[in-house]
Structures are given as C-alpha cells and as structure tokens.
C-alpha cells in the first residue's frame, strides 16, 4: 500500500533537467589545461568528474632515458608556476644518492630562490583567484608584482620562468653584485602595497561573502584525505615540511607556520597571504645571515657520472603542499625510476570532486583555485 503511494508521489515530483556541463579545457574559468565534467541540476552540481591528461608528457618515462644532469630541464617543466621547488627536490635526491655535501652559502642562496619562487607562485595564485571571481584590479596588481620577481630571477639565472639554477652540488653561479639590495627593495615595495591588497582583496566584504564557507573541509577529513599545504593548514593543523624536516637553511631562520581554523576557501587564501609575509621574513634573514664562500661543489662529468645503486624519498614544502620525489638508481648514468609525489595530484583528482559535490556552478573555479590545483603537476 505504502509502496503504491510512494510510486504515485514519484510521478508527481517535478523532474528537473539534468545537464552535463564541460568545465574546461577551453574555459576562461580554468587555469591550466584541465577539465571537469559536471553533472548539473539547476544550479547544483550532482557529480564532478575530473578529467586530466591534457598535459601528460610522460616525464617520468623520458627521464629514464636521459642522464642525471640532462633531466634538469624536464624537472622544472613539471610545474610551470613554481619550477624552483621541483629543481630543488630533484637536486636534493641526486645529492643524497651520490652523497654530495653542498657549501653553506649555496644552502642560503637556494633558500632565497625557493622563497622567491614561493612568493611568485602565491602572487600567481592570487591573480588566478581574484580573476576567477571577476576581480580584475587586485589580480592585475598581483601579476605586475610577480613580474618584478621574474625580473629578479632573470638577473640571477638568465631565465624568466625556467631557471635551472639549482644543480647537484650547489647553485649555478653566485649572486650578482647588488642583488641583495634589489631583493630587499622589492620586498619593501611589496610590503608597502600590502594595505592596498588587504583593503581591495583580502578584506573586501564581497570577497569574504563569496569565499566564506565555500569548499569547507573539516580537520579530520583533511588528514584522512592526505591533504597537505594550505589545504591542511587552513583547517588548523600546523604541518610544514620546512619545520618537520628542515632542509637547506630553514633550520637557521625563524618563521611561523600560519594556520586558520575554518578550513574554507577564505581561510586558505588568508593562509596564503600570511605565508607570503613569512617568505619575505625568511628571505630577509637569509640575506642577513648569508656566509661568504663558494657556491658550487664540483660534480663529475655529467656524461660519465654514475650514481651508486640506491633509492631515496625526499620532500620539500612547495607553495602548494608537500612535494616528494621517489628516486631509484641502479648504478647507471640515468635514473632507474623517478616518481613525483605532487600535491595537486591528490588535491585535484581526489579532494576536488568531493568538494564540488553539492556546490553551485558559480563556485567551481572558486573551489578549484582555492585548492591551488596546478594542472601540469597532475599530469606530469
């Protein structure tokens, strides 16, 4: 009897049209070549299926065919937004396997480069996020500020985007004359713009309304889903590889790990803002404490360089979370197996669809950017 009623009721229910919406790869709201298939009912998303692979180049396979040094151009291209952390993690792994100690000054320089890269990456992230909400003004300012960092990089390494500056044994060359002053000048300039950014972007009322309670992750969930970086820190977990397992000069400088408690998109962007301040602090301390000396330990001829058998897992804190590299050598002059554990892989393919379920279409890009998903990192 009851069943009959229920079927009757079902007949009366208004059937809404279920649409399939392709969000990307060709979509202005998509940063990077990535695609999400959305099943939509009205404005609600019923299901989100990420569809990666548009940037798959098979790096890990290609790297098996090239020798240890030739791999550097590949490594940095895995993540266009912050190539330095990629270079650093690969150089660290090679150094560990070949048992090379790097000079003290090189450690400081590497730290400075990594932090500058993090700043650039965060400014890019701010551009993407602001742009996503149709928030042109701070977006363009952030991009212009990022360009100053690229200019610094150009002076230091010769390249705007890809640097190939960090090599096993140290860094490619010493800092040019007056570079420290330029960095300091840039950092002071950025700090002086911070009130503007705060007013127009971070503390903007409408931005707050848009980002608050969007893409919310609970603390337990974040740990369970193996979130790292801002996603984890925005839920209140103080977790940072730079503190847990300090590499380079991170154990010699003082800095905080900014956290927020709410775990939503707004907390994540605030964590990013605070991290930029911490990065600036780290760079200033590094410049102050930097010792004199050589920056490069000679390594053997790259074409004859054979690295002893072994395996290692190294990790750094990139701007998007824990970046790991599992590197296996079988005693040859090429790696036997390279596997990058990239933060975006987990965030983009696993956490993103979970957060998108039940969200509104207006928030797809919002959630995606707040997770800091970088497409080439997923595909590799």
């Amino acid at each position: 009897m009851l069943k009959k009623h229920l079927t009757k009721f079902h007949l009366w229910r208004i059937e809404m049209r279920e649409l399939e919406l392709y969000f990307g790869p060709q979509h202005p709201g998509m940063v990077g070549n990535f695609s999400i298939t959305l099943k939509v009912e009205g404005d609600r998303i019923l299901e989100a299926i990420p569809n990666p692979g548009y940037l798959h180049r098979g790096f890990e396979k290609l790297m098996e065919l090239r020798n240890w040094i030739q791999n550097f151009p590949f490594v940095c291209r895995i993540n266009v937004i912050e190539p330095d952390s990629m270079e650093a993690v690969y150089a660290m792994a090679v150094e560990k396997l070949a048992n090379i100690q790097i000079p003290e000054r090189a450690k400081y320089i590497r730290t400075i480069v990594l932090e500058l890269g993090r700043l650039a990456s965060h400014l890019f992230g701010a551009w993407a996020y602001a742009n996503m909400l149709g928030f042109d003004t701070p977006a363009q300012w952030a991009m212009a500020d990022r360009d100053h960092i690229l200019d610094l990089f150009e002076e230091l390494t010769g390249g705007r985007v890809y640097h190939i500056y960090i090599l096993p044994g140290g860094v490619r060359r010493d800092l040019p004359d007056g570079f420290e002053e330029k960095v300091m000048h840039f950092l002071h300039g950025l700090a002086s713009k911070l009130p503007d950014y705060n007013e127009t972007f971070f503390e903007n009322r409408i931005f707050y309304e848009r980002a608050k309670d969007i893409g919310k992750i609970k603390k337990e969930e974040a740990i369970e889903w193996a979130a790292t970086g801002q996603v984890l820190r925005a839920t209140g977990v103080k977790h940072d590889i730079r503190k847990i397992e300090p590499y380079f000069a991170y154990d010699k400088v003082e800095f905080d790990i900014p956290t927020r408690a709410d775990g939503d998109a707004y907390s994540r962007i605030l964590v990013i803002r605070d991290e930029m301040l911490e990065s600036a602090k780290i760079i200033m301390q590094c410049i102050e404490k930097m010792p004199e000396g050589k920056v490069y330990e000679r390594t053997p001829n790259p074409f004859k360089w054979k690295i002893p058998e072994g395996e290692t897992y190294v990790r750094v804190e990139s701007s998007r979370g824990e970046l790991g590299l599992y590197l296996v050598s079988n005693g040859g002059n090429t790696p036997y197996r390279v596997h990058f554990k990239t933060p975006s892989f987990n965030h983009g393919l696993f956490i993103l669809p979970k957060l998108l379920k039940g969200a509104s279409i207006a928030d797809v890009g919002n959630i995606m950017i707040s997770l800091y998903v970088v497409a080439p990192e997923i595909d590799r």
Binding site: L19, G134, T137, N204, I206, V364
Partner: protein, 296 residues
C-alpha cells in the same frame, strides 16, 4: 516634419555612438585603475567593425529574430527617452511605454539564446531572468514614486518640472534616486552584478554561441542598453539636460562612478545579488513611494 525625421534617425545613432564611446571609456578607465595604458577609446568601434566582417553561425530563425527583437526594443525605448531636448516621440504615455518595451531587451536575448544548444546559455538566461526579477521590483517602485510625485506619466513632463535645478534627487524623493543608483550596476550588468555574462563561471553566458555579426549586434544592443539605463536615471533624477552636452556630461559622471564601483568589487553569487537587491534598494524605493504619497 523634416526635423522630426532627422531626430528619428539621429537619436538611435547618437545613442549608439555614446554607448560605444562609453564602452571604450570603460575599458580605458579600468585599464588606468589596473595601472596600465589601456586600449584606444574607439577600440569597441573597431571591434564592432571587425565583427561585422566575420562569418557568423546562425542557430535557427529564432536565433536571429530574438536578437533583432531585442535590438528593435531598445531602439524604440531610445525614441521615447528625451535627451538634451531631443525626444522624437513625445507621447503622453512615455514612462509606461518605456517600462513595457524594456522587457523586450532581456526577453529577446533569452529567445535568441535559447536556440543554441549550449548548456551555458540556458544557465546564463535563467540567471538573467532571475536577476531582472531582482531589479524590476525596486525599479517599478521607483517609477511609481516618480510618477505619483509629479502626477504625470509623461517623461517629458517630468524632465520639464525639474528645470532650474529642481532635481528630483534634491527633492523629498531622494530616497528613490538612491535606490535607482543602487540597482544601476545590476541593470548595466556591471560588477558586482555581472552574474549573467560571468566568463569565468559560464563562459560569457548568453553570448556563448554568438560569433561574427551576431556578436556585433549583441555588442550594439549592449551599448544601447547602457545608454538607456543611464539616460533614464539622468532624466528622472538629474533633471535631464538643457542641451546634449549637459546631458552627456551628467551621463558621463554617473557612468564614471559605475566604473569605479565595477573595478573594486568581485562578482556576487546569484542568491547574494537577489538578497541585496530585494533588501536596501527595495526598502528605499518603497519609502520613496510612501514619501511621494505623503508630500503630495
């Protein structure tokens, strides 16, 4: 008679020029706020010229007709709006006719866009209709208050009674003016209310399938609607203008403020926009109606 005919041809043309100029100015001002040089002011005109030399894809008869309906609707509205002493159609039922004809603007786009199969269009159109539902309520109340304040439905009479700086904005009806000002970004489709054409969310919404000359017509329609919304504000609350120059200056001021608002706010979500539109502007507009009853 000849003057009348010239006015008929001249006013939509002028409206187009002003609208396109405003679009160009808009891009230039925004660029300057972004700390960059920006395109030349005539850039939108160049874009329109280019679009008319491109091949477009039609998606059926209604696709073309809807766009033409929307365009024709806006031209008719322009003929009813007095600007700077020019008003081709001085009919006594001005304001009501404008009100009804203005419905064609979103409706035509909705009809036209509905022909394309892209799901972004249907989402964009539903957004557009819901948003216009949001601002129609305060808009109707505002018109009602002005009509009952001046005891006339002729827009020409309203403009005439505001001569010698007796502007409605400085009369007891200033609350209605504020309400109109608050819903103006939504009517122009500017931020924080550019929900309809949000490129990052639904890749420019109703305009997704427009290309070539269809997009050109779409742009012209957009520039017309910019002209209509602002000219109506100037006519109703800023006392129109003695000549075209003053009228244009007033429009420019309003538009400039709109651009400033546009450039410092992100986009609202649809429900947030509705909540806003049905709160303060509606309250103000309602108070305006009460005031207009009390004063007269």
């Amino acid at each position: 008679m000849v003057i009348k005919i010239i006015e008929f041809i001249f006013s939509p043309f002028l409206a187009f020029i002003i609208g396109v100029l405003f679009l160009g100015l808009f891009r230039k001002i925004v660029a300057r706020i972004h700390q960059r040089y920006g395109p030349p002011i005539i850039q939108p005109l160049l874009d329109v010229i280019k679009l008319f030399h491109q091949k477009g894809f039609s998606h059926g008869a209604l696709f073309d007709l809807g766009l033409i309906l929307s365009l024709a609707g806006s031209i008719v509205v322009i003929l009813f709006i007095p600007f700077g002493g020019i008003c081709p159609l001085k009919s006594s039922g001005g304001l009501l006719v404008i009100l009804y004809t203005m419905l064609f603007l979103p409706l035509g786009i909705a009809l036209s866009g509905g022909e394309g199969a892209n799901p972004n269009i249907s989402i964009g159109i539903s957004r557009k209709l819901i948003l216009s539902l949001g601002y129609e309520v305060p808009f109707l109340l505002i018109l009602l208050s002005t009509m009952s304040f001046y005891r006339t439905i002729s827009i020409v009479d309203i403009v005439n009674s505001q001569k010698n700086f007796h502007w409605t904005l400085f009369s007891p009806l200033f609350l209605s003016g504020i309400a109109y000002f608050m819903i103006l970004p939504a009517m122009l489709g500017m931020r924080p209310f550019d929900i309809v054409s949000a490129p990052q969310e639904i890749s420019s919404g109703p305009a997704v399938e427009y290309g070539g000359k269809y997009l050109g017509l779409f742009h012209i329609q957009h520039s017309f609607s910019i002209f209509i919304m602002i000219a109506l504000f100037v006519d109703l609350f800023l006392g129109g203008g003695e000549n075209i120059f003053y009228f244009f200056l007033k429009m420019l001021t309003i538009f400039f403020i709109m651009v400033l608002i546009h450039s410092v706010f992100p986009r609202l979500r649809l429900e947030q926009a509705l909540r806003y539109l049905w709160k303060w502007p509606t309250i103000f507009a309602f108070l305006g109606v009460i005031i207009s009853k009390v004063v007269r």
